[in-house]
Amino acid sequence: MMAQVMRRARVARRITDGFRQIEGGVWQGAARVAVLLPLAALLFAVTILVIKARPAIIVNGWGFFTRSGFDLGRSYATTVNHIHGVAVPLGASYGAGSLIIGTLESSAIAVIIALPISIGAAFALTERMPRWVSQPLGFFIELLAGVPSVLFGLWGILTLGPWLAQHVYPTIANNMPNVPVLNFFRGSAGHGEGLLTTGLVLALMIVPIITATTRDLFSQVPPLPKEGGEALGMTDWEVARRVTLPWVRSGIIGATVLGLGRAIGETIAVAMVSGSLLASVAPNAYGTFGTLAAAIVTQLDSASTDGTGFAVSTLAELGLILAVISVAVNLAARLVIKRSARLGAPVGRAA
């Protein structure tokens, strides 16, 4: 009886031992398959986009970038045009010009506002506050990063936008000097949905990304160079400008470009706050406009009514343009980080 139990235990032991020996191979094999999946998904997504967008690219031509407006044409008509072998509803005409400009304008505004505020806040959090103050504040900013974008949109369109249009925009619009660049801020103050409100909402959405990264970078700067600067009689602004910021420059650029990428690709909040125009750019900073991402999500319903499928194909072309811009921004960030890490390393920096 006893011997039998012992033998069973030995067998069980041998099985677990055997499994432990081959376990490493299982982990490695599974990991190798899993790591290929993002690459496969990326290739799949790009392939689908290109295939779907091909008819639209052929018909819309280069003029797609300069034209503006979405005209589905007579999608219920029985006769369709055939352009270069592609079935297109009579009178259909598409252009992405205003959408591309709107995308770039709104995300540029977001970054211009978010970057200095984020760096300033990161300085306040790391250099000026005891941990028991900065930690809860830091958690608050992390919470901001987790708030769903649809809630940013809801707040932007129901609360922030109307408030700004009533109390802030008219003052700016009436007092801006009529000189180039600044005259963009003159004119009708609008009702709250539009370019500047969208830029502000986007800025708030990317602030957590830049602030959190910058804060972590600042806390990694070793104290000795900073103390050395202070010992030389530098003020804290001079230490910040000549020691801390150069030390972490590439990281901040990387985080900023990540934020820019998020602003370019942000969809639902922009769809709610921008006014979602398809055909025209904002006449001034307070005017309504549209972006690539918002157009893709708002136009799906009407695009599906086009029996030839040309409208859905055009949406794919919008998606392709948006993807190319986002990926280019992303890769540029990698390049910048690499180059500045090589050239801009301050003396004494650990390799």
Binding site: A34, S149, T267, I268
Partner: protein
């Protein structure tokens, strides 16, 4: 007059004070809107909130949130399994198996670039691909499976990154100790390396869940845009209701009851995100204590 002892000293003092004020002002310019945003959502929702909202499904353009809450949790559960499994394994590969090549270059750089590019890929474009390839192409229609796959593709790079970081922070001494004790490599990986990195991995998972639960645009293309559809456990051919669409789709409807439902959905979303983030924070804090106790 000591501040004017050196040329430019007055200007320096002025700039420094400006800098200090500027940093606090920046912090205020972030905190102000954050409080305003969160308070705005809570204040809009609370006056019309009743607990019955949580237990009744959406009917037509009003009713409750029960089906949307279950739908959102179902979406998150699928993402946890699918993206969690794949993302952790991908991070494991990048941290443990992609060894440096002989020429000194890090291997796996193509895979890492692919992961980075995918994480910067606009979610709406992924949603569109899901719509064309899965919803229409494979005739799944708006469905749970299509939404799971697209959401997972979105967050896998994120989970892989946080897993890789967590694994890289495991002290070399732990691995060496395991090897010195004669543990088989795979067993050591599971029992020592992964166990030590677990808190970092779990934190990444929780944040990825928060992202998945708060996503809207790609879901409109894959899970559908039908708020009052019942929750179905079938993987295909049944649209999934979810909270973010209630916010997006209902705040513009004519009836006040619809607006209140949208605000309630916003409140539930904020609570959901808060729970996930606090959980992540607790995991981090707990392990920090743990590791200090070990070292001390």
């Amino acid at each position: 007059m000591s501040s004017h002892a050196l040329p430019g000293t007055g200007r320096r003092r002025f700039v420094t004070i400006g800098f200090r004020v500027g940093t606090y002002l920046s912090l205020l310019m972030i905190m102000g809107p954050v409080v305003w945003l969160l308070a705005g959502i809570v204040v809009r929702a609370v006056p019309h909130f009743s607990w019955s909202v949580l237990t009744h499904p959406t009917t037509g353009e009003s009713g409750g949130l029960e089906n949307a809450i279950i739908g959102t949790l179902l979406l998150m559960a699928g993402v946890l399994v699918l993206a969690g499994g794949i993302g952790i394994l991908a991070g494991l590969h990048l941290a443990e198996y992609a060894k440096p090549r002989k020429n000194g270059k890090e291997s796996g750089s193509l895979l890492r670039i692919a992961s980075d590019v995918l994480s910067g890929f606009p979610s709406i474009v992924l949603g569109y691909v899901g719509y064309v390839a899965l919803v229409l192409g494979l005739h799944w229609n708006f469905s749970l499976l299509a939404a799971w796959i697209i959401l997972s593709v979105m967050v896998i790079p994120y989970i892989a990154k946080s897993t890789e970081t967590a694994l890289r922070q495991v002290p070399t001494a732990y691995r060496e100790g395991a090897e010195a004790l004669g543990m088989p490599p795979g067993y050591a990986l599971r029992k020592v390396t992964l166990k030590t990195a677990a808190p970092g991995i779990v934190t990444g998972l929780l944040l990825a869940l928060a992202i998945a639960g708060g996503e809207t645009a790609p879901l409109i293309y894959t899970a559908g845009a039908f708020a009052d559809s019942p929750v179905s456990m079938s993987l295909t051919h049944h649209p999934v209701p979810y909270l973010t669409f209630l916010v997006y789709g209902f705040y513009t409807l004519p009836e006040n009851a619809s607006h209140y439902l949208a605000y309630d959905a916003g409140l539930v979303l904020v609570v959901l995100v808060l729970v996930l983030l606090v959980a992540a924070r607790l995991v981090v804090n707990r392990t920090q204590k743990h590791s200090e106790a070990r070292r001390g």
